[in-house]
């Protein structure tokens, strides 16, 4: 008998705390598989965010640093500058990366900081129980937009990949999703490319992963993925926004 499916070596053997149907588990797995395939676990340092994936430091087998809310790109910058031969990745949600940490994100990107950023966009603050995120869609109901996000009051969502694609320091800005098997395959390729870019010293690579939050969206997991396809993908089109060859 041969093993056809196993836990990636660079994931620890502990149960994830994520809600049923949450796609963080898939994204963790894609990152871990990539680290395994590239054989870089021993030289990789991951930066965990504040948000639902705050405990990512427990799940990856490589060395991990927990950052303050939004500061992961700055923390990764410090670690990478001190250790240029190490592989640095941040794993951040939308509140972390696109609201409180916008400055750190934009400046790490424009410096061409040679790091890999995994950006999980599920259009809501999950950890704190479902408040408006910078990426919450117009009309979307959350705890802090109980009448639906009104752009006249709360402004418009931020499209990070489009925004960062304008910066010279960015090597890769790609948006993927994890709502279907083909999309997950594409996501894996993008994540692998983002790590390879770092190995090849190409500069800042960000992969934005459109993700679901069944709990805080108030939907069953399958319905949440449908909602994602119907509502998020039109607003956040998948694709490569910037790619330095």
């Amino acid at each position: 008998m041969s093993i056809v499916f196993d836990r990636p070596k660079s994931l620890t053997d502990v149960p994830l705390h994520y809600c049923p149907g949450c796609t963080h588990g898939i994204i963790h797995r894609l990152v871990a598989e990539t680290i395994d395939e590239l054989g870089i676990e021993g030289k990789t340092i991951g930066i965990a965010p504040v948000g639902c994936s705050v405990f990512a430091y427990n799940y990856f087998n490589c060395d991990m640093i927990e950052a303050a809310h939004g500061r992961a790109p700055a923390v990764a910058t410090g670690a990478k500058r001190a250790n240029p031969d190490r592989i640095l990745f941040t794993y951040q949600g939308d509140g972390d990366l696109a609201a409180i940490g916008t400055a750190e994100t934009v400046h790490a990107a424009t410096r061409g900081e040679n790091i890999t950023v995994i950006f999980v966009n599920n259009a809501i603050y999950g950890m704190t129980g479902g408040q408006m995120a910078p990426t919450t869609l117009p009309g979307q109901v959350t705890q802090t937009t109980p009448y639906g996000r009104d752009p006249q009051i709360a402004g418009y969502p931020v499209r990070i990949c489009e925004m960062l694609s304008a910066l010279d320091g960015v090597a890769l800005a790609q948006r993927v999703a994890v709502d279907s098997v083909p999309h997950i395959r594409d996501a894996k390729k993008a994540i692998r490319r983002a790590f390879e870019n770092q190995i090849n010293k190409r500069g800042f690579s960000i992969v934005e992963v459109i993700s679901s939050c069944p709990t805080n969206w108030g939907m069953e997991p399958v319905k949440a993925l449908e909602w994602l396809r119907e509502n998020m993908l039109p607003y956040y089109p998948l694709g490569v926004y910037k790619s330095k060859e």
Binding site: A48, V54, N58, N61, D63, I65, A68, R71, A82, E104
Partner: protein
């Protein structure tokens, strides 16, 4: 002893940091400490280190957090408003048991305040730097030689106790030029098995973290940290006494104000008033016991501060209020003169001696 060279406080401090093995500097321009950053920008590339101008003070302290998480000696430097911005990062450093050196070349406040020398960040540095139960080491030089020596010690103490250390200077010390003997370059021997610098597949993963979701676990971690703080209070206190043996009035002053107080002491002695000085060099840990001993013989204390009087509370606590404690101060960037201190000394003499 190395030959003495003339250097500005900010530059001497920066050079000494490099000689103490600082390999990463992250900063943001702010008067009156910008020379530290400018010096680092020039020197770091020459030694294969990192100088990076951050997009903000917040980013700078978090870059320090990242670098020191990997076991690299790292430093940032700012002045009062910038330190407030770094507060979050310093709390995380403390909560993650990370060493780091933070320079505050203090200026007048609050708000944007001014840019002239001040000591109005004493309470911030020693008590209320940011959220949570924690301390950082606070060292207060009063000459350029100490700017050098203490920054070197700050790195060692920070590594030894795995906590941030601050050099609390002021615009006067940062800007002034004085002869200094620079320390020889020295490498730290302190091991950092906790560093998150890549496992090389030779050990379980290291995690740098300040999050403890279970309250009993967090309580235990904080209490362990405070046990370490008690040890530091017993072993790392530094101070200097000047003519305290026979002094009726003992001035307590640190940094710039201790320099000015010296002139006042000489003038008072010339008038026959026995004045001495107790100069805390570590502001945390504050030299409580040593100061309390001075209260056995001194009849009155006078704190000289470039603030509305912040250290004065620590002086009263240290001596259990068993002697009167007076304040001579200027604030907002105004530097007190020896004559102003002397006038206060005469007043105290009239009231209590």
């Amino acid at each position: 002893m190395a030959e003495k060279v003339l250097m500005k406080g900010n530059e001497a401090l920066a050079e000494s940091a490099i000689r103490a093995g600082c390999r990463c500097f992250f900063g943001y321009p702010i008067t009156p400490q910008t020379e530290v950053a400018a010096y680092m920008a020039k020197r770091m590339p020459q030694i294969g280190g990192t100088y990076l101008q951050a997009e903000s003070e917040v980013a700078a302290i978090n870059m320090v957090y990242g670098a020191t998480s990997t076991g690299t000696r790292a430093m940032t430097s700012s002045s009062s408003p910038g330190i407030s911005l770094k507060a979050e990062g310093i709390s995380y450093l403390a909560g993650s048991d990370l060493p780091a050196v933070i320079i505050n070349i203090c200026r007048g406040g609050p708000g944007l305040g001014g840019i002239q020398p001040a000591q109005s960040d004493y309470n911030q540095a020693t008590k209320g730097l940011a959220h949570g139960d924690f301390h950082i080491l606070v060292l207060a030089p009063n000459c350029i030689q100490e700017m050098c020596d203490l920054v070197s010690d700050a790195f060692d103490l920070a590594d030894t106790y795995r906590m941030p250390a601050m050099i609390l200077g002021d615009g006067m010390l940062g800007q002034m030029m004085e002869p200094v003997a620079l320390p020889e370059p020295h490498e730290s021997k302190i091991e950092k098995p906790w560093a998150a610098c890549g496992t090389e597949m030779k050990r379980p993963h290291n995690v740098i973290n300040s999050l403890y979701i279970k309250p009993d676990e967090l309580e235990r971690i904080v209490m362990d940290r405070y046990a370490r703080y008690r040890h530091i209070e017993e072993n790392e206190v530094r101070y200097e006494e000047f003519m305290t043996e026979d002094a009726d009035i003992v001035i307590v002053a640190y940094g710039a104000s201790s320099r000015i107080a010296r002139n006042a002491i000489m003038a008072a002695r010339a008038e026959g008033i026995k004045v001495g000085m107790f100069r805390p060099i570590t502001l945390w840990p504050f030299p409580k016991k040593a100061l309390d001993r001075v209260a056995d013989t001194a009849r009155a204390f006078l704190t000289v501060e470039l603030s509305m009087g912040q250290m004065i509370d620590d002086v009263k606590l240290a001596i259990n209020c068993r002697r009167p404690v007076y304040l001579a101060n200027r604030t907002g960037g105004m530097v007190i003169t020896p004559n102003e201190i002397l006038a206060k000394i005469r007043e105290i003499k009239g009231e209590t001696l």
